[in-house]
């Protein structure tokens, strides 16, 4: 079973389309867990989702080859079948800014992770400092060394990453145009040096994780 952890704003929606094309009905998309939100309704939702998944363990193993979505890496540890974990990481500063910009342009989003932006009007700096948004990549992966992952792609090297992922899983995944992106961000987000430093400081674990992933990616390229 391939477990593909889609961290928010890390090209997962684009990958989702590639996986749907590559695996057809053998892929399960799991997007209900509201990871990175510790609002009480999200915590309750995750508990309920895990209970439900456990009750369908045999069915999951028989019907699916891959589970992809927003969930903590350990969610499917209970599946009694060999598992491989894959994910994509992104420059932590860019990811935070992209996440904030995404929520700002989705005022209709009814999701607790949007509350501080839509209901309370948090600025980028306030959003970044909120505990739910700090080191989000580590929160998703529950890992500090990526040792559990057989593949870690980089959003910044998406096409290379997709090629490698195809080789890793033995399925040719089609290159699909980026989905769920902000057209205005194509020229890069405008960020003051002060905000950049602040976001780096607030995401030290993610910075280290990303550096590790980057080094691992380059080492494989050199090999």
């Amino acid at each position: 079973m391939l477990i593909s952890v889609h961290i928010r704003k890390c090209a997962g929606t684009t990958l989702r389309h590639a996986l749907a094309a590559g695996f057809e009905d053998r892929v399960l998309f799991d997007y209900g867990d509201q990871i990175g939100s510790t609002w009480p309704s999200s915590v309750a939702r995750r508990h309920s989702s895990l209970t439900k998944a456990k009750s369908k363990a045999a069915d999951l193993i028989s019907r699916y080859s891959i589970i992809h979505g927003h969930f903590y890496r350990q969610k499917y540890d209970f599946l009694d079948t060999p598992k491989r974990y894959v994910t994509f990481l992104r420059d932590p500063v860019v990811r935070v800014v992209s996440n904030y910009a995404y929520l700002k342009r989705k005022p209709q989003r009814r999701h607790p992770d949007a509350l501080i932006v839509h209901a309370l009007g948090f600025s980028l700096a306030e959003f970044a400092a909120h505990p739910d948004n700090r080191n989000l990549q580590r929160q998703f992966l529950q890992s500090s060394d990526l040792g559990e992952f057989s593949f870690v792609g980089l959003v910044e090297r998406y096409e290379d990453s997709l090629t490698r992922l195809s080789a890793e899983i033995g399925v040719a995944l089609p290159a699909i145009a980026p989905q769920n992106t902000n057209a205005a961000a194509n020229s890069g987000y405008h960020l003051s040096p002060r905000d950049r430093r602040l976001i780096e400081d607030l995401n030290r674990d993610d910075m280290r994780l990303y550096e590790r992933a980057h080094a691992r990616f380059e080492n494989l390229s050199a090999a």
Binding site: S37, T38, W39, P40, S41, P107, P112, L115, I116, H118, A119, L120, G121, F122, S123, E126, H130, P131, D132
Partner: protein, 195 residues
């Protein structure tokens, strides 16, 4: 007995008048006087940049209704920082302590209220002239509501370190602690108020 001094602040359509009306339901009219910012400015000549003094009457309770959206020295191009407003300066020097209620609603809710509103301060009956929807909507789009509220609270920090936020959306009104408003920590109470 010392006069109880209350400031109710927020942008236009944030719910200041409605909140004051609720407060007045619990007070007799001869005990409480409501001061609209515009009247204070005119009565005490608070239109220049030099600090001037003011008077909040002799009734046991004085409530100041203050619109944070602009200030009395704003121009069409520039809304100066809250702390530069002459009325803010006069209020700060007038008393050592205030009770501060900061009215806040999500931007989308404010815009919707502004669009359908027809009269200025209809609840308190202060005036009956038409609400300048277009001008206020345009003005609102030029400012950051939260930033101005935080700046207002900062200006009065020594007078009231823990203001109360009167949060309202399309469904209900809730009182939030200052910490909850500032940090948005995910508590059941805050989620219930915001959803």
């Amino acid at each position: 007995m010392a006069q109880r001094k209350i400031i109710v602040a927020g942008v236009s359509s944030a719910g200041k008048s409605t909140f004051i009306e609720r407060m007045l339901e619990d007070q007799s009219s001869h005990e409480t006087e409501v001061f609209f910012a515009g009247r204070l400015v005119r009565a005490f000549g608070l239109t220049g940049i030099a600090p001037r003094s003011l008077n909040l009457g002799a009734k046991p309770v004085a409530i100041v209704h203050y619109n944070t959206q602009s200030s009395w020295i704003s121009t069409a191009e520039h809304v100066p920082p809250v702390e530069e407003d002459p009325l803010v300066q006069a209020l700060r020097s007038h008393a050592a302590a205030y009770e501060l209620y900061l009215c806040y609603a999500p931007d989308a809710v404010i815009r919707e209220r502004m669009a359908r509103r027809t009269a200025v301060e209809p609840v308190l009956g202060e005036t009956d002239y038409a609400y300048p929807n277009t001008r206020l909507c345009a003005e609102f789009d030029r400012i950051d509501q939260r930033e101005r509220l935080l700046a207002f609270a900062k200006a009065f920090h020594s007078h009231c370190p823990q203001p109360t936020v009167v949060f309202s959306n399309a469904r209900k009104t809730s009182l939030l602690s200052w910490e909850a408003f500032r940090h948005g920590n995910p508590t059941p109470e805050l989620e219930s108020a915001l959803m």
